[in-house]
Amino acid sequence: MADELTPDELLDKIDYGAPSGDWMDTTKSVQIRPGMYCYAAKAESVETLGLPNARPWNPVEEDWKLPDNWQQIIHEGIKERLERFRTFKIFMDVCVRCGACADKCHFFLGTGDPKNMPVLRAELLRSIYRNDFTTAGKILQKIPGGQRLGGNRPLTLDALKEMWYYFFQCTECRRCSVFCPYGIDTAEITIIGRELLNLLGLNIDWIATPVSNCYTTGNHLGIQPHAFKDMLEFFVEDIEDITGVDCTPNFQKKGADILFITPSGDVFADPGTYTCQGYLILFQYLKEKYGLDVTWSTYASEGGNFGFFTSHETMKRLNAKMYYEAKRLGVKWILGGECGHMWRVIHQYMDTMNGPADFLEVPVNPITGTRFDNAASTKMVHITEFTADLIKHGKLELDKGRNANRILTFHDSCNPARGMGLLDEPRYVINNVCDNFYEMPPNTIRENTFCCGSGAGLNAGENMELRMAGALPRATALKHVHEKYGVNTLGTICAIDRAALSTLCEYWVPEVEVAGIHELVGNALILPGEKERTEDLRMEPLPGCEEEE
């Protein structure tokens, strides 16, 4: 565990050279090591959605309690997915092992473990595909030593365990895919790899339990409706203390203009809570000034989707709530909060899975008149697109000075960056609410951004060594701007980031704090009728309001 492993000890372990020998010989000796793996899914969480093989099991024990025909299940699972996903089939066939992806993965850069090179992560599965599904593989099986020559291997229990270990050391960030000359996307391979593992009930609990919670209570954290309302009302009280304005939101309001959905993490834990307060302030402002009616829902109270880390089907089952609730409430369109993987699901999957959303209108910002043609079919708009549009049209009254104590840099979250291309919208908002903004080095931002190291369901406590190792490339870039420009705040538009980057900073760059972009908007926005503010949303003195010593 990282609690026991100091940053120096972790750095000592890094070596980008690869061992000699054949990686396939090391499969047997893969140790599922504490600090690097997440605990197994609890049986009851797997049962909630009726997913296969719910039972108590432990990855470090010899017996994983698999069904007797597990090899057949995986074999048929692969076969089915080869027909369903052209990506999978092509990515299994065309890799030339050029190695361009090798040092692009944050987990490889942080651990030096060669199996964290994206190419080898994929080869774990590809070697089995070649053996069992290609003509060449079938011929080579018959020649002594032929399997080895083609890099093929049979699906053994050791190979399965190795796949489990390494598919849960990938955060599906797609950075390797940017550099691959054939666009091979390791995220896609990990997604399908995890889907296969789930056929045997081999999920991790940090994914399975949020999925189960989300299915029944509407959000990953299992916050029940009354508690969800309580929590937002608690923020309302805080905001009233700070600004003197009542920002009470609507819940499940039929006929509202817009349904707002954000990750439940922002309702639950600092510093996401401050971002959540930023949303409340923004909506109050728009209601007061322009009569815009936004509603929250306790049923669709989760923007994130850990089903995406389980299987395509589970993703669809959890995502269905968004359109279901929008239809029931009769809103015009949906607005989505700051979140990473949530936005990949909405942008690249939602309409296809659960659309068409013909009961909604093409999103139009009634205040500016802007028609969001880029969301014409899905009918869901990203909050930074929305806010950037408001700012551009001069519809928000902002006091940048209230963020003057923040020297900011911006962490592009993997999914909005590489699964969407949302890069300049948040930067535009930042530059309008804060004066001191410095970019991290170009190899570490925008489409080249590094993952926080805890995405895709790996933000657990027990795999802290893995997380902090994966966080290293982001942390070094952050440290660079901290030392060069005195950056003290890491801005982000992802709820997992707000949690994960806080841990990252504590471990690697303790002088830096993490903030959501709408926290800064909330600080800067001048509410109609507000009292003179002396504190920011963290209840710390605003610049110029510090008490005299």
Binding site: G183, Q348, D351
Partner: protein, 334 residues
């Protein structure tokens, strides 16, 4: 570990020897007629089957990897190439991907310095891109030049290409640039596999085999042109025979040519069953050949099926009392 490259190396040698000696032992018709026809057949059928196989798989979701600013608000500048939203922009992206290996061009090399500032540094790593581009274009030129042997009269385009390739006008017969660049690039790619620890670790026998095979083809070809001097008229008679489906085996062609031809035949036959199919795959890769307009235009999943969901009604039934108590709106009061 060594067997991963030694076996392919030995295999290429043996394949050459088989044809070299076989042709000398009166099996010229086999290596000169039967094998080339079978190889081309295997290539064509294999290639088509493979591509049809990929095409037969569904594309359920539109999942391009976006490498630049999306199209969103009108005043935000979109990166049309790296984040295309229309098919013409996708076409441009694919063109750059296929002809100049744009993604590989981005390649960087990471280094970690434990002793200095504990920094990870990234430097632009251009050599793989240069070698890959040099290799592919030199190979293409060599391939196209060989149309001299399959056409009569030789088309002007081929003659022009030859003139261009021989522009240095060095030696007699004139040196072709592709004859230098191709083996040099292959040797670089091979050296990378052998001496870069990471690349060595991920390399399989099937990565070394095509490199040795192509090296063998280049070596025999170069040797015939510049050193051992074969009977070009006889060879042309034979190649024209193949291409006009009236095969003949002229005397005195020599084992070296049969070795060359056999290695080429092996390459053709091996192609569709191997990683060399990246030639076809790059066109079909969904992360590159799709527009990033998912929210603007609905993409259909051909196998989309209904799934059980937890409806609002299920939810309200579960929490009704608590919701009423908390003052949340409900559909049914009891």
């Amino acid at each position: 570990m060594t067997q991963k490259y030694l076996i392919p190396l030995i295999a290429v040698f043996l394949l050459f020897l088989v044809a070299y000696t076989g042709a000398g032992a009166g099996l010229g018709w086999f290596f000169g007629i039967v094998v080339p026809y079978l190889a081309v057949l295997a290539f064509l059928v294999g290639f088509v089957v493979k591509v049809m196989g990929w095409a037969a798989s569904a594309v359920p979701f539109r999942i391009p990897t976006t490498c630049g600013q999306q199209k969103s608000l009108p005043w935000i500048k979109q990166n049309r190439i790296d984040n295309p939203d229309t098919s013409s922009n996708v076409f441009l992206r694919m063109l750059l991907e296929i002809f100049i290996f744009r993604s590989l061009f981005r390649n960087t090399k990471a280094a970690f310095n434990r002793n200095a500032a504990n920094r990870i540094t990234y430097s632009w790593e251009i050599f793989l891109w240069v070698a890959a581009l040099a290799f592919h274009y030199a190979f293409l030129v060599v391939l196209l030049r060989h149309f001299r042997f399959f056409t009569a009269p030789v088309p002007g385009a081929v003659q022009f290409l030859e003139a261009l390739d021989g522009i240095v006008q060095l030696g007699l017969p004139g040196l072709f640039l592709s004859g230098v660049v191709l083996p040099a690039a292959v040797l670089f790619l091979l050296a990378r596999r052998l001496f870069d620890a990471k690349v060595r670790y991920i390399s399989q026998g099937s990565d070394y085999f095509p490199l040795f095979l192509i090296l063998g083809i280049a070596a025999t070809g170069i040797s015939m042109r510049y050193f051992t001097k074969v009977d070009v008229t006889g060879i042309k008679e034979m190649t024209m025979g193949l291409v006009t489906f009236s095969p003949v085996i002229p005397d005195g062609i020599g084992g070296l040519f049969y070795g060359h031809l056999f290695l080429v035949s092996i390459l053709f036959a091996y192609f569709p069953a191997s990683k060399l199919m990246h030639l076809g795959g790059v066109f079909l890769s969904p992360t590159r050949n799709m527009a990033n307009n998912n929210r603007a235009q609905r993409h259909e999943n051909p196998w989309n099926y209904d799934v059980p969901i937890h409806t609002y009604e299920d939810y309200e039934d579960h929490f009704r009392d608590k919701m009423i108590e908390a003052g949340l709106p409900v559909e049914k009061k009891e």
